[in-house]
Symmetry: C2
Subunit: 431 residues, 2 copies
């Protein structure tokens, strides 16, 4: 993409709002614009990152045989009455009266609607196991929205719902979803941890939160010391590790953990939550399916949420230096951006040629041909966070070299001059 055809709107005025790093950065980098308290427009640069995250989330669900559908943003109040949550959810549930005085609810989650829909179409054990998912805007009327899209009111969430005949089968679906979440966060490519979480009235071990490590994050996670390496590098682990008790949450054992020498803690941001809740909704909403023996039973359910819009900000908070974000390559706004030092036709033609070659590789590449100074372009490269910024001047071209700025999660930011062929090999490696 030629950046003169894009909408790059970085700002120098640091926000005076006392907020977290990602919120201030996203405003300065022109990724989001506040529309109302806790409600944001997504500018092209921010949307580009969010769509890459959404694609990873969708692909991992699809590969795990989850089935995508879509629940409307406005849900009928009647299903929330059926589950008794219309009162118990509190003021965070945004209730709306339409022109006929019917009550609608802007869904903060979709257990009711998905349960209702599943039972309209599925009558027996033959329809299970079934995992439906839905990537849709949600709304939570937070009393004090804060930290930009970390705790906004309107947010994009992926929420999956599993339906099973028995508790044993439901636990297998839970484990399947755990594997899908491990895939999602491994593909995003930042260190993360799954922690046991409070499973409330249901009890049992089947509630896990997924967190990114963020030094000034609002959450705190506890883990055995042997897992400290997780805080430094992204790593693979399985549900088995967690049952071993490898990861524990603050809620579940704050007392023991905080006083134990076995445990260390880290601040963090929650970006996913898996939850087994059995027949909580199928029973309160009075839904039955037929089991193998012909008996009417309540399906056993779980729900599995990923904060898609929140992840954009959480990733920034988890991975940046004082010059800007250090994105994992998987979600960077651009993998490669080409800059020309001068406006000479020799240099511009050369840049156009290199740009064309990288486009042909199928990479997400930009050519910053905007009519602004080189200094401003380099400033934007840091603020927005291109993985590689390649700067070509006549001298470099003559000696078959190029200066590259590398900004990638898990690596120290660097500026170096390399052979052009070496740079092209880096690009090939990104495919």
């Amino acid at each position: 993409m030629k950046l003169s055809n894009f909408f790059i709107k970085t700002r120098n005025d640091a926000s005076s709002v006392n907020t977290c790093y990602s919120h201030s950065l996203m405003l300065r980098a022109g990724m989001i614009n506040q529309s109302a308290s806790g409600i944001y427009s997504w500018l092209p640069v921010g949307l580009k990152v969010m769509k890459k995250i959404e694609k990873i989330v969708r692909n991992c669900h699809d590969q795990g045989n989850c089935i995508e559908m879509l629940i409307p943003t406005l849900q009928p109040g009647s299903v929330w009455e059926k589950s008794n949550r219309i009162g118990s959810y509190g003021k965070e549930l945004l209730k709306i009266q339409d022109r006929h005085e019917a009550t609608l609810v802007y869904g903060p989650t979709a257990e009711e609607c998905v349960t209702d829909l599943f039972h309209k179409y599925s009558m027996s054990y033959k329809d299970m196991p079934c995992i439906l998912y839905n990537i849709q805007w949600k709304f939570r009327d937070e009393i004090r929205p804060k930290h930009g899209v970390i705790r906004g009111r309107e947010f994009l969430m992926s929420d999956a719902y599993s339906f099973d005949e028995t508790e044993d089968m439901a636990i297998r679906s839970y484990e399947r979803m755990f594997g899908i979440f491990v895939n999602i966060f491994t593909k995003i490519g930042l260190p993360y941890i799954a922690v046991k979480a409070d499973s409330g009235e249901i009890g049992g071990d089947h509630s896990h939160e997924f967190h990114l490590f963020v030094p000034d994050g609002d959450n705190k996670v506890f883990m055995k010391k042997k897992y400290q390496y997780l805080m430094e590098k992204c790593s693979e682990f399985s549900l088995k590790d967690v049952n071993e008790g490898g990861f524990v949450s603050d809620e579940k054992c704050s007392g023991e953990a905080m006083n134990s020498e076995e445990y260390i803690s880290s601040n963090s941001i929650e970006v996913g939550h898996n939850f087994y809740f059995g027949d909580k909704y199928t029973s309160s909403m009075d839904f039955y399916v037929q089991n193998k023996e012909g008996k009417r039973i309540h399906a056993m359910m779980g729900s599995y949420g990923v904060g898609v819009s929140r992840l954009v900000a959480a990733i920034i908070d988890a991975s940046h230096d004082d010059k800007g974000p250090l994105w994992p390559v998987s979600v960077a706004p651009f993998n490669v951006v080409i800059l020309s030092i001068s406006n000479s036709s020799k240099s511009v033609n050369y840049c156009n040629e290199i740009y064309g070659k990288i486009v042909d590789m199928g990479l997400d590449v930009g050519y910053d041909d905007r009519d602004i100074s080189l200094g401003q372009k380099i400033n934007d490269a840091y603020l927005i966070g291109y993985s590689y910024t390649a700067i070509f001047g006549e001298r470099e071209i003559d000696s078959n070299q190029v200066k590259i700025i590398t900004r990638i999660a898990g690596q120290k930011s660097s500026e170096e001059v390399v052979e052009i062929e070496g740079f092209m090999n880096i690009c090939r490696g990104l495919r």
Copy 2:
């Protein structure tokens, strides 16, 4: 995709609602489920079609150098006060009070928010021409929602907004968007027509609606007799044809047109609307940019909408027979579905092999391995509308043949037995 892993939920009970063909078909084919009046959940089959349409719309905008961003569904009441539309829009505008008694509006369109956003980031003629677009859920609180997603309350719309320094430049952006719309509807692949529409208080020739021809559609379009061929086949035409007066709308010259022998009419469904409105919003909202001469001026704007969710239904209404929809290949829920007549391992293995080969071609292919009768599977093939259904039995396999059912827009539905190699060539042609 193995259809046993999918969520195909066709129903035999015809809806008793007195409605249009598409609404009844989409309920029977398990594409949508009514959640509240005029509000629908999208089941996996319906969502699959809608996402293909969305992808065409997005790609055509991107190729035309429009820039995608995202406006939140809930907009601040304050911007609607600034444009004076909060009162004038009427009861179709859904107003909401949040927990702090602030007024939010569920956007039925986004002129206010996009104008506000553009001016926050763009100060001069150097930032123009600029076309921003946004594919987002909208809400219109219709007094009597009808015809399913044709006139629903919550709907998915793509809306683009152009910003220019002068009226001349704005007309060039308008023409560019006209070309993009021609691309979109040509790629979808059904006959369509662009008609001059009422441009209201602004006047001038720069408002066009795009319609699909639908025998029992709610709209009516008039055109010169020489364009009758459009009603029969999809065709390329340009804005130039329209200024020649080739296409005229009922609103603009119903009197003349209806009485003239030169004109014929057709029922239709509106699926797109382009509209030039100059400084209507930039002036009422008091927004300025600097022009080339350093003077403060109001940017000249246009807006350009495509009804993405409505298109799913409009396409069904425009192209079906009494057995089900005849989708254009571009948006069909599956391009190819494989069926095995028997459960013999010979037949099943053969089907798996063919299925694998077509997956490798990169096609959207299904293998209907569900544990239901062949009759039910064939019934679903018609009701959902796979482009090609390939039915393999041992006899056919022995003679290197396959029975294929072809269901494609613009072609007569057919069932025929062909050589397997011929069928594979058809598949290759779909790539």
